[in-house]
């Protein structure tokens, strides 16, 4: 796991549900055939209404044209990120698109578990609302060990909540690696 994640921010609102992250009609693609797996990257966040895509201005597509990777690797959300269905395709789609970290005020339980247990991305919680302080396109630097988010573009620094009991799973890269490390399987 990288200790420092450097990337561009993509900012979203509150209650980003899994239908917005990956609309249900696309869940038909195989997650084990590489060419089909890429489709999850292509459709990542395609369910977000365009006026709310890439705040504060909106109308910023997460994925350009026929691409399967996004230029944004850090997502800044609000409260209740990932609410809705249990589809693991949601954190998977973000991972395929190149997202490494999400910073949100709070998460829905299943999305949070899936992000951690599947080793797709790191779900950090912020102490306060950040999606009105960071703008889409800001360059951010996140230190995984010291739980700090630095906004390089705006020269601000924020403290994030420690990952706590799931840190070991995140560090192992998912629940299977964690279980093997602890001789559970």
């Amino acid at each position: 796991m990288e200790n420092i994640i450097l990337g561009k921010a993509y900012v979203l609102g509150d209650n980003i549900d899994t239908d917005q992250i990956i609309p249900a009609e696309h869940l038909v693609y195989s997650t084990s055939i590489p060419d089909e797996l890429k489709m999850y990257g292509h459709f990542a966040l395609s369910g977000v209404p365009i006026e709310k895509a890439g705040l504060p201005k909106g109308f910023i597509p997460f994925i350009n044209g026929n691409e399967t990777k996004s230029e944004y690797s850090i997502i800044i959300g609000g409260s209740n990120f990932g609410c809705g269905s249990s589809r693991e395709h949601a954190p998977l789609a973000l991972n395929v698109a190149g997202v490494k970290v999400i910073v949100a005020e709070s998460y829905a339980r299943i999305f949070y578990r899936n992000s951690v247990d599947g080793g797709f991305l790191i779900p950090f919680e912020s102490h306060k609302k950040l999606n009105d302080k960071i703008e889409t396109g800001d360059i951010l630097e996140i230190d995984i060990h010291s739980n700090k988010l630095k906004n390089i573009s705006k020269n601000f620094e924020y403290e994030l909540k420690p990952l706590g009991s799931v840190f070991e799973i995140v560090e192992s890269g998912g629940i299977f690696n964690y279980a093997r490390k602890n001789q559970m399987i």
Binding site: N15, D17, Q20, V28, R87, I110, I185
Partner: protein, 431 residues
Amino acid sequence: MGKTITEKIFEKASHKKNLTPGESVWLDVDVLMTHDVCGPPTISIWKNEFGEKAKIWDKDKLVIFPDHYIFTKNVHANRNVDILRQFATEHNLPNYYDVGTERYKGVCHIALAEEGFNVPGTVLIGTDSHTCTSGAFGMFATGVGNTDAAFILGTGKIWEKVPESMKFIFDGQLPNYLTAKDLILQILGDITTDGATYRAMEFEGEAIHQMNMYERMTLTNMAIEAGGMNGIIAVDDVTRSFLKEIGVENYDEFHSDENAKYVSYFKYDVSKLEPTVAKPHSPDNKDIVRNVEGTKLTKCYIGSCTGGKITDFQFAAKLLYGNQVNVPTFVVPASTQVAKKLEEETYNGISLKEIFVNAGCIIAESSCAACLGGPSDTIGRSSDGDVVISTTNRNFPGRMGSKKSQVYLASPLTVAASAITGVITDPRNFL
């Protein structure tokens, strides 16, 4: 210190005593359920991670229902069902319910109840967020993703945090114009879509114990809409007689202690509640039907694990009897058993199915259908500009198809009344 039902089930399944909310424990899983959307990736992760050693921990405890994308020409969706079929054949699975055979059941959460997999005191995990539905049977049931399911498939275990519990008490007699759907939409409006995140929602009170099992399942089904880890209702005589009828015996009944600790209590007098809707685009965007009456509709939808049970159709048939629908109205029985009951059960001497046909409804085959949009050829799917009123559980942007459609969530009574007039209508106008 007293304990809640959920805490008692956690103690049993983790073989640990004196657990405190927030603590992580490993639970033994009694049933793992999956379907055509999440089954194939779960199987693929299981094969990759366990490799040569991959072994199903207990075939009798694995239940697979193809139900999401069934009646479609989409080749990828059909391939997913093929993968399940092949897996079931290869491993000789006893609990696989294949499409196109007499074993096909329809929507998993309803089929679990009908087939006797909902057993009080047990732990049921499913790769679907509405797995919490089974909590109506005094059991711990919750949804997970594919990786967690693959882990269970190989080990029979899952880590969970012991949830704090919230208590929702409904006093009084439910009037004839209200259903369980109105109660849960009321709760969602009061606590919002993250009001129960990581928590257990326990439902109690006179009005709850007067409900049949199907209505109770409407409440526990939508616990996830408040972010809840699980919804739960204690076993009573209604539960016992339902289970006896389908041959489920010898189970552990847990009841919350008088001095059990809850983080919050919500108390309602059901006689004071109103028919309720969730307006676009969130299940917590609550309003009373009277305030949105007259909103012009383009589609009505009665179906899904939330609102496609036999009791939902009994409510709807009562209003649609002798009436004509004014907008396209879709009737999608959740399970094949519900579909059969529509032909057998009568109201005023004619079958429920005939009532719907005579009223001009479009009757579809059992599956999840347009509740979650689905492939473009899914029956009832919303299109640009649609205004839909539906008995389903979610109205997020694009949930039923088009991002440019609007969905109101309501009870089967409210949807039926609205189907007749073509505008959102309070069911009291017809009762």
